[in-house]
């Protein structure tokens, strides 16, 4: 049986014999803290409401960064020989990853206005891997209720700390390659992930209540398909740069093109 290193208060407290004499005081204290926490666990609910519609319109485009990109953080990974072996010397973090002709990677595009109704979550999971002491992918989007599979391909220890605000935050131990967990998120938000063993490791998992989203690849391209005819506000979010939005109206079957331009804030 695989040990579960979940950071679940009730579970860990039960397994620690030295706690037993203190339980009388600790259990109420734990409940008090849990009750006061805005992130108290919630039962997974099937969202109620009219079903959301799918259509035949689409919007595609390219996200580019104009100007000189801001400097990325540089780190050395000497605190872990495994990571240092993969990335010796100073390594630049791909916070602002710019490809040819300003193509901006890792931008999340999601419809923020215009989509209504309840969309069923896909059953197939999306995977967040830990590979070479970095998250892969760095930005990932899933639907509310869609399983997120968290795996590690690294022969070193990681912890996966999801600093969720709207959903329940968690901290999982991944002591060996092959370790895996599956988690779902019930509420829309962009959840920052970090590894506290390797503090340079960062990922962002966007939880969206409908299927109208995309994340740009190395070529900066995106495509959102299956939209019913209507007017939409689309948000382009980047972990470092100010969020951009655009509005467009689509007819049935229309394939619109919209490029999004981020401007590099000139450094002082």
């Amino acid at each position: 049986m695989r040990p579960d290193f979940r950071s679940g208060a009730s579970k860990s407290m039960k397994t620690f014999p030295a706690f037993r004499p203190l339980r009388g005081g600790l259990v109420p204290l734990a409940f008090l803290i849990a009750a006061c926490s805005p992130k108290a666990p919630e039962a997974s609910k099937v969202p109620a409401g009219p079903p959301g519609k799918l259509g035949t319109a689409a919007v595609a485009g390219r996200v580019i960064l104009e100007g000189v990109p801001p400097a990325n953080t540089r780190v050395t990974m000497t605190t872990d020989p495994f990571c240092n072996g993969r990335h010796p010397g100073e390594t630049e973090m791909p916070e602002v990853a710019v490809g040819s002709e300003g193509a901006l990677e890792n931008v999340l595009l999601r419809v923020t206005e215009g989509a209504s109704g309840v969309y069923p979550a896909p059953a197939e999971a999306k995977t967040l891997d830990q590979k070479g002491c970095a998250y892969s992918p760095r930005v990932l989007a899933i639907m509310t209720g869609q399983p997120l599979k968290i795996v590690s391909s690294d022969a070193t220890i990681h912890n996966v700390h999801a600093a969720a605000k709207e959903n329940r935050a968690f901290n999982l131990g991944m002591p060996a390659p092959g370790a895996r967990y599956t988690r779902t998120f019930e509420k829309p938000e962009i959840v920052p992930f970090r590894c506290d063993v390797h503090p340079w490791m960062r990922a962002f998992v966007a939880v969206v209540p409908h299927p109208f989203f995309a994340v740009t690849g190395a070529d900066g391209r995106f495509e959102i398909r299956g939209l019913p005819a209507g007017t939409y506000t689309v948000e382009a979010w980047h972990e470092k740069l100010p969020t951009q939005t655009f509005t467009l109206t689509l007819a049935d079957g229309q394939a619109a093109t919209r490029d999004v331009v981020f401007s590099a804030v000139p450094s002082a």
Binding site: S37, T79, N159, F170
Partner: protein, 330 residues
């Protein structure tokens, strides 16, 4: 066991108490490094670490698990100290302080575990930081009360030519300074554990002004950060006033040196607070700021304890005590 502090403690007691107090200080530094390096959640489970007693000490695990190991060792030492204090016939108050220190360090371990399991809620993390300084104060007071210096002080105090008014004033100021330093430590803990350390990016001004204005107050953590940096001036003023008052009690041994140390520590602490901001929270600066904050607090506690001792042993206290039954009889 004797009544309060009447005998010179044996060498093992003195060594044990001093070692324990120094170890608690080292534990404080180890704890500071955990937060300053952002390693608080590098080990997701507790009391085991990744289900083991000894996980691989890589990355943040070195700080977090290292802190746990040092804490377990120091807690054991604080427990053993009770036996040393009990068997070696120290006075009753010191023994009780030993018991209190052990109780406090056990509670500290529970708070440390809870903060990991609940993903570092600022309230629990700040309580953990606050209780750490209580453990430090208790063990430092034990080290003081079991030292040869304490015996010398006890000897000299009844004969010291100290004006009652000056001593009472110094005593009051020392209590206020120590109390304010503790409040400041709690404010610092809130700043640190809510991630407000860089909420105001400059120092000594705040956003280029004496007081932030308008929308600047809406920034995350600005209020906590500004309160901490402003209250520092009240702490500094009280510490300077108390340290200067100590210097007027020259007839009591050790107080002049304590006063000098106290003044140096408060200046250093303000400089380290500023350096934490200027270096955008360099690990060494924030850790040193926490450690020197602890020493500043201990200087206040020891000053207050020594002045209370001097008051209890002063000739006017003896007169008052002798007078009481007569008044009662009258």
């Amino acid at each position: 066991m004797s009544d309060d502090g009447e005998m010179t403690p044996s060498r093992p007691v003195r060594i044990a108490a001093r070692t324990v107090a120094v170890s608690v200080f080292l534990l404080l530094i180890a704890g500071a490094l955990v937060t300053s390096t952002g390693s608080g959640l590098a080990v997701p489970d507790w009391p085991l670490s990744y289900g083991k007693l000894m996980p691989p000490m890589v990355g943040g695990i070195l700080y977090e698990h290292g802190h746990r190991m040092i804490a377990a060792t120091v807690a054991t030492m604080v427990g053993l100290q009770i036996l040393v204090l009990g068997f070696r016939r120290t006075d009753r108050t010191t023994f009780r302080l030993g018991l209190a220190a052990f109780g406090a360090i056990l509670a500290q371990a529970v708070l440390g575990g809870l903060t990991v399991l609940f993903l570092l809620p600022p309230a629990i993390s700040s309580a953990h930081a606050g209780l750490a300084q209580i453990v430090f104060a208790l063990t430092a007071t034990i080290a003081l009360r079991t030292s040869l210096f304490w015996a010398r002080f006890t000897d000299a105090a009844p004969r010291a030519a100290v004006e009652h008014g000056l001593r009472a004033r110094a005593s009051r100021l020392a209590l206020w300074a120590a109390g304010a330093t503790y409040v400041q430590i709690l404010l610092g803990a809130i700043v640190r554990h809510t991630g407000a350390g860089l909420a105001i990016p400059d120092w000594p001004l705040s956003f280029g002004k004496v007081v932030p204005t308008g929308a600047e107050w809406a920034g995350d953590g600005v209020l906590a950060h500004f309160t901490h940096r402003t209250f520092a001036w009240a702490v500094a003023a009280l510490v300077v006033a108390a340290a200067l008052a100590l210097r007027k009690l020259d007839a009591l041994p050790g107080l002049r040196r304590l006063s000098t140390l106290w003044l140096v520590l408060v200046a250093l602490q303000v400089a380290l607070g500023a350096t934490s901001v200027w270096t955008t929270k360099a690990v060494w600066a924030t850790s040193a700021h926490l450690a020197v904050g602890g020493l500043l607090w201990i200087a206040g506690v020891l000053a207050a304890v020594l002045l209370a001792r001097a008051a209890a042993l002063s000739p006017d206290a003896a007169v008052a005590e002798a007078g009481e039954p007569q008044e009662a009889a009258a």
